[in-house]
């Protein structure tokens, strides 16, 4: 058994829970996070931090509030003024960022264990999410790459739109299972399929 244990372990076994007519309206899966780092710049060092991020990850940071950018295994999300959340497939990212972004430029905080990411995909994805999310999920108002920090059923959640019918939900680790239970209940109306972790 691996030493690394997801809070959803044992709850995300592949299965199909069909609603009345059969077809699963959404596909749910855990998308394990390799590394997740928050970088907070100081107001007078924002450009340097952005440069450092871009040169280290080869991904240009998003220039809009609540935007995100993605390149290969790196995603950078703008979660506040001067604050970025960076997800990466590189397990050494926290150390690498720490090495280039010193206290004079900003703060680097490893959050790789603090969140779980759940991918929700399917024709009914917005319908299911709307049951808990008081956000306008219209594709023009919340387009792909857009990020929103909000709350679903009293659980803080960061939502990132991947495509018209696909979303990543980053939830606090301690609430992950409770949230998963809520999500599967919300999806029971349209039916859902659980894909194995990491399949998304």
């Amino acid at each position: 058994m691996s030493d690394r244990i997801s809070p959803l372990q044992g709850h995300t076994d592949p299965r199909i829970v069909a609603a009345g007519q059969g077809e699963a309206g959404v596909v749910l899966s855990e998308r394990p996070i390799v590394s997740l780092v928050q970088v907070a710049a100081w107001p007078d060092s924002l450009e340097q931090v952005e440069d450092a991020l871009a040169s280290l990850t080869h991904c240009a940071p998003p220039q809009r509030p609540s935007g995100s950018s993605s390149r290969e295994a790196t995603t950078i999300m703008a979660i506040g003024p001067g604050r970025f959340l960076i997800e990466s497939g590189d397990p050494a990212l926290p150390d690498k960022l720490g090495a280039v972004i010193g206290a004079d430029l900003g703060a680097v905080t490893d959050l790789g264990h603090a969140r779980c990411c759940i991918r929700v995909t399917g024709p009914k994805a917005t319908w299911v999410l709307a049951k808990g999310l008081a956000l306008d999920l219209d594709i023009e108002r919340f387009p792909p790459l857009e990020v929103a920090q909000s709350v679903i059923h009293e659980v803080g959640v960061l939502v990132r739109r991947i495509s018209a019918d696909s979303f990543d939900l980053y939830v606090f680790r301690g609430f992950a299972l409770s949230f998963w239970d809520w999500l599967t209940e919300a999806a029971s109306e349209t039916g859902y399929r659980v894909d194995p972790p990491g399949s998304a």
């Binding site: 100081w42 107001p43 509030p65 506040g80 001067g82 008081a134 929103a148 920090q149 803080g156």
Partner: protein, 102 residues
């Protein structure tokens, strides 16, 4: 009630925590008198109409905001960032407005 968070956009009031009167400034510990502190910590006006107040976007971007709210109608006139990013935010707004005019 919707609060227009400068970072996140308009959000339901349930995502925010009320932080009290934003017209109060913390006294300088070096020079303030006991009555200054008493005023800062305890004395609150209860205005009818516009009121400047702190709101924390606790379930969002975690920014502290200064919100102008009408206590009679609950209408929110505006919200701005408090803190080191306030200026950057205002600069950005100014430049956005400039672009609109152009």
């Amino acid at each position: 009630m919707l609060i227009p968070c400068p970072h996140c956009g308009p959000r339901d009031v349930g995502e925010f925590t009320y932080g009290g009167d934003a017209t109060k400034e913390r006294p300088d510990p070096g020079s303030a008198s006991a009555s200054d502190w008493c005023d800062y910590v305890f004395a609150r006006a209860n205005p009818r109409g516009l009121h400047l107040e702190y709101w924390h976007h606790a379930q969002g971007c975690r920014l502290w905001l200064k919100v102008t709210r009408n206590t009679v109608t609950h209408a929110i006139e505006g919200a701005e960032i408090v803190g080191p990013w306030a200026e950057a935010d205002q600069d950005k707004r100014r430049s956005d407005e400039g672009q609109d005019v152009a």
